[in-house]
């Protein structure tokens, strides 16, 4: 007993050390980026800025938030993230539950049909024409409907659903529960960790997505924040390349920002909200699920 707990202590100590190394290695790039986003643009060009801004400025963030339409863009992003994620998780989970049941007739054939779509993609133009036919172009729904279902996420969920012992479902059935009730009242509460994980994946996808808005909408009202910021960053620099490049009258003060530092500030502005959300999801990962208690 004594020996084992000493071993445990060693293990714990080693483990903490390993984790600290991982933390240091993973937080460093983020920290450098954060520092850079608060540094003056021209000065940042000289490099060597790691731990603290050398010439502190808020200009990069000011530029990011200068145009007030960004708040509307945030609104679009938040809406699509909430609606898109809820729809995605609910729909995918439902299909996944059906697919997870051995009793489902035609299960393997369905799976092959689904897997096939993971590998073959028709390209932009056929999709554009399809959305046009469906009336999705320039509609908020084009941001959430096409991503409503993902075979990959379905498979992950399916594997989790399958790991729930069959007897639990059988005994629920004997108690007279139908498949929908079993799914809603038994399976979903038991598989909160995977639902949280998929919600996180889907949420992050929606949060960062902008090509769909770029391709399938033209209205500003539907512009998500990532698209908004992508435009700010590439705008002026890109357009100038064909003139004998010049921002012409820009005074020295305007050099507070550079495309580099602006990019960093943009990254921070969009990443911070996600990082804040994460701890709320985390509780689903930390707690073990008491299957036994349901069994009894």
């Amino acid at each position: 007993m004594n020996i084992r707990s000493r071993g445990d202590k060693w293990f714990d100590a080693m483990n903490v050390c390993i984790m600290l190394v991982v933390v240091a290695l993973t937080i460093a790039p983020f920290w450098f980026a954060l520092v850079g986003s608060f540094n003056q643009g021209l000065d940042y060009m000289r490099g060597g800025i790691y731990f603290w801004p050398r010439t502190f400025t808020l200009s990069n963030y000011k530029t990011v938030f200068a145009d007030h339409t960004i708040y509307h863009a945030f609104f679009v992003t938040i809406s699509r993230t909430l609606a898109g994620t809820a729809l995605h998780v609910a729909f995918t989970a439902l299909v996944a539950y059906g697919m997870s049941r051995k009793a489902l007739a035609g299960r393997n054939a369905y799976l092959v049909i689904m897997l096939f779509t993971m590998f073959f993609y028709g390209g932009l133009i056929p999709n554009y024409l399809l959305y046009k036919e469906l009336g999705l172009l320039n509609h908020f729904l084009v941001l959430i409907i096409p991503t409503m279902f993902s075979v990959w996420d379905m498979i992950i969920m399916m594997s989790f659903f399958r790991s729930i012992p069959e007897q639990i479902i059988e005994s629920a059935k004997i108690d007279g529960a139908g498949e929908y009730r079993i799914f809603l009242q038994l399976i979903l509460p038991l598989t909160k960790p995977v639902l949280a994980a998929i919600a996180l994946f889907s949420g992050v996808y929606h949060w960062n997505a902008y090509t769909d808005a770029l391709m399938f909408t033209t209205k500003d009202a539907l512009e998500p924040v990532q698209l908004f910021l992508m435009r700010i960053v590439t705008d002026s620099s890109e357009a100038m390349k064909f003139g004998e490049q010049a921002a012409s009258v820009m005074p020295e003060e305007a050099k507070q920002i550079s495309p580099e530092t602006l990019k960093l500030a943009m990254m921070m502005a969009t990443t911070a909200p996600i990082l804040v959300i994460y701890p709320f999801l985390q509780k689903y990962f930390v707690k073990g699920v008491l299957i036994g208690s349901v069994k009894g």
């Binding site: 714990d12 439902l94 299909v95 689904m114 590998f119 989790f160 399958r162 790991s163 990254m267 689903y284």
Partner: protein, 320 residues
């Protein structure tokens, strides 16, 4: 008397069978009704636009459109496999992926397991949150930072190595083709370890604590519990991830490589994805890039079924 009893028993048995069939049918209907919306979705949003793949076999002319462009047969497939660079590009793709399967595939699993063993709840949560942060740093920035750290003139690593007299002269890491694959896989691992672990952390969270209690009572130590309780419980997830990782063996992190590529490592850094982008999509040669994409997908599909088959033979775990 006997006959009636017999008959009655028979009647009740068939009745039971009938009701069982009914409930099975009811249950089947419910299950089918759950799955069909998914199939319908894929029919509309994946299968309907799939005719776009035809351009792989056509000399695609924007003006004529997908259907009316002239057929090209296998021209573009042939162009790819007879390219003098084909072998080199294939080799690099496979090498980097095999290395990744060996190193960066297990890393998140190990990380999730170790994280699970952390006893202090708050520290655990902190580590987990921090570890997935690099996922949000774009490759352009992340790769740029790695280049800075490895830089021969003022990189931290070289300063350290020179100070510690490990090397005499700073090493230009990015000019050493023999190191490139390792740098790539290492960077990928660092960036993806926390994000990749989420799914395993979720799987571990789903493990029934009673199993651990039972093992504890049996006198199992921590390693033993990890080995005989946790790992088997998440094996299903691991296998599925592995099957897909194997099927994706021709894919490489496009952005990552584009950022870290330079003329001196081009011989080892050019992969199918980067090469096809440069000579295909980057030149708006849609037929060519679709053809190569299609070929890659076919290989991936075959590998998926193959890996699934092998996994089913070797273990209880498989996709289907």
């Amino acid at each position: 008397m006997e006959r009636t009893l017999e008959a009655g028993r028979l009647a009740s048995a068939s009745e039971m069978k009938a009701s069982g069939r009914r409930s099975r049918w009811k249950s089947q209907f419910a299950l089918q009704s759950m799955v069909w919306p998914g199939l319908l979705f894929l029919l509309v949003f994946s299968y309907v636009p799939m005719y776009g793949i035809l351009i792989a076999f056509k000399k695609y002319d924007l003006f004529l459109g997908i259907m009316d462009s002239p057929w090209a047969g296998l021209t573009y497939f042939r162009e790819f496999v007879t390219d003098p660079n084909f072998q080199n590009v294939l080799r690099n793709t496979l090498a980097m992926n095999l290395l990744a399967l060996l190193l960066s595939f297990p890393a998140p699993i190990l990380f999730a397991l170790l994280l699970n063993e952390l006893t202090a709840g708050r520290f655990k949560r902190f580590v987990q949150t921090v570890s997935y942060v690099p996922h949000f740093v774009s490759w352009v920035i992340f790769g740029g930072l790695i280049l800075t750290v490895l830089s021969p003139s003022n990189g931290v690593l070289n300063l350290l190595l020179v100070k510690l007299h490990v090397v005499e002269e700073p090493i230009n890491f990015m000019a050493k083709p023999e190191l490139f694959w390792f740098i790539m896989v290492g960077a990928e691992m660092l960036k993806g370890i926390g994000w990749g672990a989420i799914i395993y952390i979720a799987a571990i969270a789903g493990v029934d604590p009673e199993l651990h209690e039972a093992a504890k009572i049996d006198g199992a130590g921590r390693f033993q519990r990890m080995r005989y309780v946790t790992v088997p419980s998440i094996m299903g997830t691991i296998v599925i991830m592995l099957i897909f990782a194997v099927s994706a063996i021709l894919n490489t992190g496009f952005e990552q490589i584009m950022v870290m590529q330079n003329p001196l490592n081009l011989d080892v850094s050019e992969t199918i994805d980067t090469y096809v982008y440069k000579v295909g999509l980057g030149q708006m040669r849609y037929s060519y890039s679709t053809a190569v994409g299609l070929a890659k997908s076919l290989v991936a599909l075959i590998l998926l079924f193959g890996a699934n088959y092998v996994s089913r033979k070797l273990s209880d775990n498989s996709l289907f």
